[in-house]
């Protein structure tokens, strides 16, 4: 069930976000590494540069010493010896620094060690030069030797310094090469990656704002529909509740509280709360159905009584359904209907119905018994009268013979009345079995019943084709007999009766006042005669039981025939109407549903 609007974008949105975040993380990590490398490189450059400087300082200190020594040897002025004396300290300071700087490099340490030895040798050579140049100890050959040896040593020292510088330079070059190799990402690539991430974020932003708009629309709709539901609950006397089975939280709609006789949110509903309202008679049923709804996921209507705080009893009808939402939590949804009014009305109706049924039965049995039991004495009167033979009549007076004739006529009329009454009550009480029948055959049967009168009156009956319909056959036959019989009976004196029977299919919408509009098609069957007709003002009353338009001496009849017709047509959910022009003829029209 889709009762929550589905925001499809949320998943893709997440993906976009994650990708963008990863790209940014990647970019920043590269930038960080870049920085670190740069830092490292500058340190290496600085390192190399520092070693270079210290080596140069070392060199210059030695050179200073050399120059000072030379000056002294030439001039014998002790002032020239000052740089020579300081140079030892300078060399030592530089040397200590160099030792520190090259601490991580064993090869340089080795070189440094070599350099140190050379420098010491050089200073020993200085000492010797000074010694042999002193006029007291002057030795030209030894001085020359030492001067020359110092020269060679100086060359060696320079060579050693150059080598150390070269090693550092190479080291720097290697470092730069590695750095270049590591900084593999070009700036263009980085920028395009950044742009991709940016566009992803923009895309996500657009999606979010779109979803937000949709949410707003849904929110508005929700607000309207919840308002509508609350309103309709009040009007329709029903309420809804939700029961979250996972959290056991129960929510009542406002009207639920009202139906239970409280103000909305007057208490916090719990599982047992509702059962407290249920009438003791129904507690078990309701509790059972509450359990069943969980296993069956659906609750057929449960009917029970509720006792309100003011001890009023209300009748409830409840149905429910178990829903599993998108997160998989189970929610029980229920609707309660307050059917008290309907229930009471129903009870009243049932009572009235059974009363009606009872009185109907009484009427039917009264009718049957009356007609039946009335027949017995009547039949005997007739039979006894019929036993008065012609010979007996001969000895009677004229008036006695007349009286006997009148007894016979009255008894006969009584018989017709009883027979018709019986027929009328039977059209109502006997079982109504609808059988698909050919109305043409039923009409032929009816004509067969009336053959004698038709022949006697020399009547002509013109018939068009009648339909096949689901009817109560003997009743329709009776209907035809009565209608044709009626036309034959009320024919004009000295004019042969002409009866035309026609059938058409019509739409009920063409006769909105007469016909049941729920049935689309009807068969309209008309019986038109050229009889004496009747005053149209009686066209309704002629169908009423015992209603007669003529004196019984002129036209013997009971006033039941057309009432039977009406009853039969009613039994078929049809309609019968009559119309007439006096002295020209009548039209009886019956409508039977298709």
């Amino acid at each position: 069930m889709k009762w929550i609007p589905n925001f499809n974008s949320s998943n893709s949105l997440r993906v976009i976000f994650v990708v963008a975040v990863f790209i940014l993380l990647f970019l920043s990590s590269i930038a960080y590494k870049h920085n670190r490398d740069l830092d490292e490189s500058s340190k290496v450059v600085m390192h190399t540069y520092e070693i270079n400087i210290q080596l140069e300082r070392l060199m210059s200190a030695i050179k200073d010493a050399e120059t000072g020594q030379r000056g002294y040897i030439i001039t014998r002025n002790a002032r020239f010896l000052t740089p020579y004396i300081y140079s030892r300290d300078k060399v030592n300071t530089s040397f200590i620094k160099l030792k520190k700087l090259t601490a991580d490099n064993p090869k340089q340490q080795q070189n440094l060690q070599k350099l140190f030895k050379l420098i010491i040798q050089r200073f020993v050579s200085f000492e010797n030069c000074l010694k042999y140049s002193d006029p007291k100890t002057y030795d030209k050959r030894k001085l020359d030797n030492h001067m020359f040896g110092g020269r060679i040593l100086m060359e060696n020292i320079r060579f050693q310094v150059d080598e150390m510088n070269d090693i550092e330079k190479n080291y720097l070059a290697n470092r730069l090469k590695i750095y270049d190799a590591e900084i593999s990402l070009s700036p263009i690539f980085s920028i395009s990656l950044f742009l991709v991430a940016l566009s992803f974020i923009l895309l996500a932003y657009r999606q979010i704002s779109r979803d937000f708009e949709r949410l707003k629309v849904y929110n508005k709709k929700l607000l309207i529909s919840s308002g509508l539901i609350a309103e309709s609950e009040v009007i329709g006397k029903f309420s809804t509740w939700q029961w979250d089975l996972d959290t056991s939280k129960i929510d009542y709609s406002d009207n639920q509280y009202r139906l239970l006789g409280y103000e909305p949110n007057a208490f916090v509903p719990e599982k047992e709360t509702f059962l407290n309202f249920v009438h003791p008679d129904d507690k078990e049923t309701v509790a059972k159905s509450m359990e069943e709804i969980i296993s069956k996921k659906q609750l057929p209507f449960v009917y029970y009584k509720i006792v309100l705080p003011n001890h009023d009893i209300r009748y409830f009808k409840t149905t429910g359904k178990l829903l599993t939402d998108q997160q998989g939590s189970k929610i029980l949804l229920g609707i309660n209907f307050d059917i008290t009014d309907e229930h009471l009305l129903n009870i009243e109706l049932q009572e009235r119905n059974s009363e009606l049924e009872k009185s109907n039965k009484e009427l039917a049995s009264f009718n049957h018994v009356a007609s039946h039991d009335l027949q017995e004495p009547l039949r005997k009167i007739q039979t006894f009268v019929s036993r008065i033979s012609d010979a007996d009549k001969e000895v009677m007076s004229q008036s006695a013979r007349d009286y006997i004739a009148k007894i016979q006529i009255s008894a006969k009329r009584m018989r017709v009345l009883i027979d018709d009454l019986l027929l009328f009550s039977r059209t109502n009480t006997t079982k109504k079995e609808f059988i698909k029948s050919n109305l043409n055959e039923l009409l032929e049967n009816a004509k067969g019943e009336l053959t004698e009168v038709i022949d006697e009156k020399k009547a002509t009956i013109t018939t068009s084709k009648l339909p096949k319909l689901a009817v109560i056959p003997y009743q329709i036959e009776q209907l035809f007999i009565n209608l044709i019989g009626n036309s034959l009976k009320y024919s004009q004196p000295n004019i042969a009766p002409e009866i035309t029977i026609e059938s058409h299919k019509v739409n009920s919408s063409d006769y909105p006042e007469l016909l049941d509009q729920n049935v689309k098609k009807f068969h309209k069957i008309t019986f038109t005669d050229n009889g004496m007709g009747f005053d149209p003002q009686f066209k309704e009353t002629i169908f009423v039981l015992f209603q007669r338009l003529h004196s019984k001496t002129d036209y013997p009849g009971t006033g039941i025939g057309l009432a039977i017709c009406k009853k039969i047509v009613d039994n078929h959910k049809g309609h019968i109407i009559a119309d007439s022009t006096p002295n020209q003829g009548s039209v009886f029209t019956i409508f039977l549903p298709d």
């Binding site: 049957h368 039949r379 019929s386 039977r426 006997t430």
Partner: protein, 149 residues
């Protein structure tokens, strides 16, 4: 003589009807012996008593005290040695229901009590002279109710 006479039994509680019935038989001058019982109980006792001869035709009124004609009809048709008796229902009622019921229960003919003595004679004459074997074999709902032409 007595042996050849048709034996007729009428079960009817109404004294006048029994009188008409008897008079009619006397007037049609067919050799018959007519007996009467006054209610359903008496009828069944009469039929069950093996000393009594079984009737050739039983005229059975439906509306009788103690035991109705329909109950008698069902009992007779259930009893082996009685079920072949020709049964003519002889009733005031002409309701479809009664006609239908008695037809289904196996009565042979349905006579509505006439209101004219001459008609009664004609009916009795018709019933007594009909070839019952022939009639019964072709029995259907249309010819079950006796109609005089």
């Amino acid at each position: 003589m007595q042996n050849n006479a048709l034996y007729i039994l009428l079960a009817d509680d109404d004294e006048d009807d029994r009188l008409f019935f008897n008079d009619a038989f006397e007037e049609i001058k067919i050799q018959t012996k007519v007996d009467f019982v006054h209610d359903g109980m008496q009828l069944m006792e009469h039929l069950m008593d093996t000393n009594n001869k079984l009737p050739d035709i039983l005229f059975l009124d439906l509306n009788m005290p103690k035991k109705t004609g329909k109950e008698c009809l069902i009992e007779i048709k259930k009893t082996e040695h009685l079920k072949n008796i020709i049964i003519a229902i002889y009733s005031t009622s002409s309701s479809e229901e009664d006609i239908e019921d008695t037809f289904i229960q196996g009565a042979n003919i349905y006579i509505k009590k006439p209101s004219d003595f001459n008609t009664l004679k004609k009916i009795i004459n018709e019933v007594v002279t009909v070839n019952w074997h022939y009639h019964t074999s072709g029995l259907n709902r249309d010819n079950f109710l006796l109609r005089l032409k």
